[in-house]
């Protein structure tokens, strides 16, 4: 229950955050890469909707955000952030990883 409220709050925050950008209508979520790990490692997103995923790289080295299940691969230069548009997705779990540090950089998107 608390997580539901948390998601709603996050979505509200996210939607406030993107006002003024080109895709202002799509909900936005942020993933941070630090020490070759993703935070959060599990991210809940709404199923059946297009979502903007902002991936920020706080490391000093490049990373490649990749997911075979989401059909996405995109280089994230050090200190930069990129946007990955995903969905609309069927409900389910979708793994993603950092191609350059596969050992530690692993995470999941959960579409509900």
């Amino acid at each position: 229950m608390t997580s539901r409220i948390g998601i709603k709050a996050l979505m509200l925050l996210a939607s406030l955050g993107v006002v003024g950008t080109a895709w202002a209508d799509d909900p936005q979520f942020t993933l941070v890469i630090k020490d070759h790990k993703f935070t959060p490692t599990e991210l809940q997103i709404p199923a059946g909707a297009k979502v903007r995923l902002v991936v920020r790289n706080d490391d000093a080295t490049p990373e490649e955000f990749e997911s075979t299940e989401l059909h996405r691969e995109k280089v994230v230069p050090p200190g930069q952030q990129i946007v990955v548009i995903v969905g609309p997705l069927e409900p389910g779990t979708y793994g993603f990883f950092g191609e350059f540090h596969k050992g530690s950089a692993q995470g999941k998107l959960i579409a509900k």
Binding site: T68, E69, P77, P78, I85, P88
Partner: protein, 522 residues
């Protein structure tokens, strides 16, 4: 060191396979070594530049710079490979006919080696820039030390080169007279795979719809990340979980290049420019074509032997009820008349409904038409139509459809009837019952270019518990078809246009339907 070597190996492998295909394809051409070496050198240089500007590229075009950059260079490579094959189709025979070795060499010297060299450059640039970024990252982080970095990098590059060399030596074992045919096919498949990757990036940039996120999943058999997966990815464009749009681009590239290769091998030079214009128009047409399902199509008991066709059918509904207001259906079909009595076709069908707006690939269908008698042999021309359809959307059923198709010509008129039974199956099947649908078409064969008439399409629903006629679907309306010959050797263009009125409560008020088809006999 091993971890570094493995990542570098995987990136180098793809570029190295492409280089070996190009080297094998250009065997015996003077100066190819310099061209290919130049391509590799420029590719390495380009890779460093691209890696250096990674941040700028990523931020460009509203954050979609990487995708658009990748898609652009991939499609450039597809164009170059296509141009090479078309050129070889035109000049390969002349080259072989040159009596002397010197004459052959001179003829071969005019081959578009720059096309192949640019493909090598692009392959090295694409795979190389990721390798550079990765190695730079390791060096910047100071992790693992210089030995691991240099050692791993070297092992990876050498390993990739060895696999490429193995493929090259393997290809050289093919007798010269077959080598050209084999490498043409490899280049065709390579181009199709690159086009599918280009479509992947355009989808990621939100420019193209996915038409289904995962048409199938064969990662249990060959995973994309495995070495075999990587090799197949280059050789045939293998993807374990393809998107619908990737399949469409893959098939369309093969179909278009194959058609161009055959068609331009004998056409006069003027026709070549005209052909290029038509391809551009056709591509634009496919790009604009929205939605489709094969519902409003008549299947005559006719097989056009040895005829290759690319076809698009579409419909767009109008209804006061918001749920049916503007539904679209669309298909892209590629077919061939294999035998005088058997024609086969693969169809990609997509749709978009007012209630579920994303346009997605619904089905991939395999259609077969079997002609049971010569035209005019009996009072009615009989045939059988079969279709097996794989649903590409969760919650939808697969289907098997079969039934007679009958045609009768009377003077200047031709009448066709389809009586089809559709059996849904698969894990998501809740209907468990056979559906019956019927269609009638009458045309006045006034002129080849313009044949007006009418069509009726009905869907009676499940045969064991058919709904009342009021709830069945029934449509009738005017249609017109025609054929236009393109320049000699360029095949013919067929069009169809109609407007169907919904007659029952269960049908939308009106539907516009259209059809565009290009046919060429080989």
């Amino acid at each position: 060191m091993i971890a570094v070597a493995i990542i570098v190996f995987r990136e180098v492998l793809e570029a190295s396979l492409i280089v070996s295909i190009v080297l094998a394809a250009s065997k015996g051409t003077r100066g190819r070594g310099r061209w290919v070496a130049g391509g590799i050198a420029l590719g390495v240089l380009g890779a460093c530049v691209v890696a250096g500007f990674a941040a700028e590229i990523a931020a460009a075009v509203a954050g979609m710079g990487q995708e658009l950059f990748n898609a652009t260079i991939l499609f450039a490579a597809v164009g170059m490979l296509g141009w090479h094959n078309v050129w070889m189709g035109r000049h390969g025979k002349e080259m072989a006919m040159e009596a002397t070795a010197l004459g052959r060499e001179v003829a071969a010297g005019t081959r578009p080696l720059y096309a192949l060299a640019s493909v090598v450059g692009i392959a090295v640039l694409r795979e190389g820039s990721e390798t550079v970024l990765f190695l730079y990252g390791l060096a910047a982080a100071g992790s693992g030390g210089a030995v691991s970095l240099v050692g791993g990098g070297t092992i990876g590059i050498l390993g990739g080169a060895v696999v490429g060399a193995a493929l090259y030596l393997g290809l050289l074992r093919i007798p010269s007279r077959h080598l050209f045919a084999v490498t043409s096919w490899m280049i065709l498949l390579l181009a199709a795979g690159l086009a599918s990757q280009g479509a992947f990036f355009l989808n990621q940039a939100d420019v193209l719809p996915a038409l289904g996120n995962e048409i199938w999943d064969t990662s249990w058999l060959v995973d994309d990340g495995s070495i075999v997966g990587r090799v197949l990815h280059v050789l045939i464009g293998y993807v374990a979980r393809p998107e619908g749009i990737q399949l469409v681009f893959w098939s369309a590239t093969i179909a278009i290049l194959l058609a161009l290769m055959r068609w331009l091998s004998t056409a006069p030079p003027k026709a070549v420019t005209r052909a290029a214009a038509i391809v551009v128009l056709a591509l634009a047409g496919i790009g604009l074509a929205r939605g489709a399902r094969a519902d409003f199509t008549i299947h005559p008991p006719v097989v056009e032997y040895r005829e290759f066709e690319v076809e698009h059918n579409g419909s767009y509904t109008f209804d006061p009820n918001p749920a049916n207001k503007h539904n679209e259906t669309g298909t892209l079909e590629i077919g061939y008349g294999v035998l005088p009595w058997w024609g086969t076709e693969v169809e990609f069908a997509w749709s978009r409904t007012a209630s579920n707006p994303p346009r997605r690939l619904d089905e991939i269908n395999w259609e077969n038409t079997i002609r049971l008698a010569e035209q005019g042999e009996y009072w009615l021309d009989p045939g059988i139509f079969t279709e097996i359809g794989k649903s590409t959307r969760v919650g939808n059923t697969h289907h098997l459809e079969v039934g007679p198709t009958l045609q009768k010509q009377w003077g200047n008129t031709v009448h066709t009837v389809n009586l089809f039974f559709k059996h849904p199956f698969g894990p998501d099947n809740s209907e468990k019952s056979v559906n019956f649908n019927y269609a009638w078409q009458s045309l006045w064969t006034w002129k080849r270019e313009f044949q007006p008439g009418f069509e009726i399409f009905g869907d009676a629903g499940p045969v064991d518990r058919a709904p009342s006629i009021r709830d069945q679907q029934l449509r009738i309306g005017p249609v017109a078809y025609g054929k236009i010959d393109l320049a000699p050797g360029l095949g013919e263009l067929k069009y169809g246009l109609g407007y169907l009125l919904g007659l029952t409560h269960g049908t939308e008020k009106g539907a516009l339907k259209w059809n565009l088809e290009w046919e060429q006999v080989f």
